[in-house]
Amino acid sequence: MKKYTTLLFIILFSIINSFAQDLLSMLDSIQPVKNEIIYEEGTFKSIRLINGYTSETASKNELIFSISHRFGDVNQGIYDFFGLDQSTIRFGFEYGLNDYIDLAIGRSNYEKLYDGFIKIKLARQSSGNKNFPFTITLLEGLSISAQEWTIDEVDYPFSARINYIHELFIARKFNEKLSLQLSPVIIHRNMVKTKKDQNTVGAIGIGGRYKITNLFTAVSEYYYLLPGNTADNYNNSLAFGIEIETGGHVFQIHLSNSTGMTEKAFIPETNGKWLDGDIGIGFNIIRLFSFK
């Protein structure tokens, strides 16, 4: 009798056992979901926020071509077709050497500036096995003006045409909708227009994006000039825009009180005042090419 009871017990147990464990939980115990390092991607959808850049770099073998336009002020009325008759343009290329370093060159008709920079991703925001709250990118660049000197008699050296820029982007993607960045920047101009102007100007930029739908994103950017003569005589740059993403293109249309598209131009040399209606329409078209 005892023998049969034991046997029955074993059979019952094995049946229960095979039923109790469904395959998915068995899979979880055999091959569990690994706690890997998850790097946050797409903090910003392009290398440009509006006038300034973002913490994003071109990824490996990716070429990003951007064309930017800034039109005149809308308060000039219908005679200038709300500023559209005047336009400032910059086109540029940015190429990813690897996923952390990219190189860029550009040309703008604002003071006939040639500009170039290197962007290095120093840290990436990550979760999972390794937690780090920010993506940090360093930008080191210079711009050279090719404009003819207005005073012929004075022989300025070539170095007078050069401006330097050092900028750090500290960005955080809070969720799929919201990303913000803080960008302290130092601009050094070897020559300035008047004696009162500062050669070295510091500023702090704040910017962000908020995704409205899968296609439309609202973007905004503000650069605060650190106190000094430049801050007294010029205005802080403020811009609002809408970003439209379609696979290989990012199209940005915005309003801003700045007409320049390089840091040297829009951070210490913004004359426009939002309250006076010195607002210009502008757009950036950013196209991605991949060479894999």
Binding site: K3, L7, I10, L23, L27, I30, E41, G42, G248, L288
Partner: protein, 181 residues
């Protein structure tokens, strides 16, 4: 004494039969292709996991969506994860079910089978029958399959602006190698 011996033997038999019963994925490659008029998008993952229980021919396979790499740009990969697959909300695609044909796993050879079960992607479950080729060798089962998934079936919406760049039907190609646990 005799009883204890019997118990031991039975338990041992059950445990050994269980061990041979379960096959786990040791090597995997999943790739998908979206062949649209204006753009061809391809991506692949090697992170598929899964098990096959040969006693009742049941299986489960799972692939993490964030593990897909390839694409034509990093922006496209971000769009894939954020806008279309919503991979933070729905991290895996799972196929769970049974093999219809009663095949003999102890005889090596090539078998064309149909796998029937629930295919869950983007949080939407669909009953599917997927044709597969099994190559059974001693201590190894190779699975290969090609099938398609309709975006509409899984409530993945494509904006009109990019409709010429993303195919409505995605081709999926799977190669797996399973070994006894």
């Amino acid at each position: 004494m005799k009883t204890i011996l019997l118990v031991l033997i039975t338990v041992f038999q059950i445990s050994t039969s269980l061990a041979q019963d379960i096959y786990v994925v040791s090597k995997a490659n999943v790739n998908f292709t979206s062949d649209a008029p204006l753009e061809m998008i391809e991506a692949e993952s090697n992170k598929l996991t899964g098990i096959l229980k040969i006693s009742d021919r049941s299986f489960v396979f799972r692939v993490p969506i964030k593990s897909f790499e390839g694409f034509n740009s990093s922006l496209q990969r971000t769009h894939f994860n954020e806008n279309y697959m919503e991979s933070t909300k729905f991290p895996h695609t799972v196929f769970e079910g049974k093999i219809i044909e009663e095949i003999d796993f102890s005889t090596p050879g090539t078998y064309n089978i149909r796998a029937k079960g629930s295919f869950t992607s983007h949080g939407i479950k669909q009953e599917r029958i997927i044709k597969c080729k099994l190559i059974i060798a001693p201590n190894k089962i190779t699975v290969s399959s090609k099938f398609t998934v309709l975006l509409e079936d899984h409530n993945i919406k494509i904006p009109t602006v990019v409709s010429q760049k993303i195919a409505e039907e995605i081709l999926i190609n799977i190669e797996l190698e399973l070994v006894p646990k």
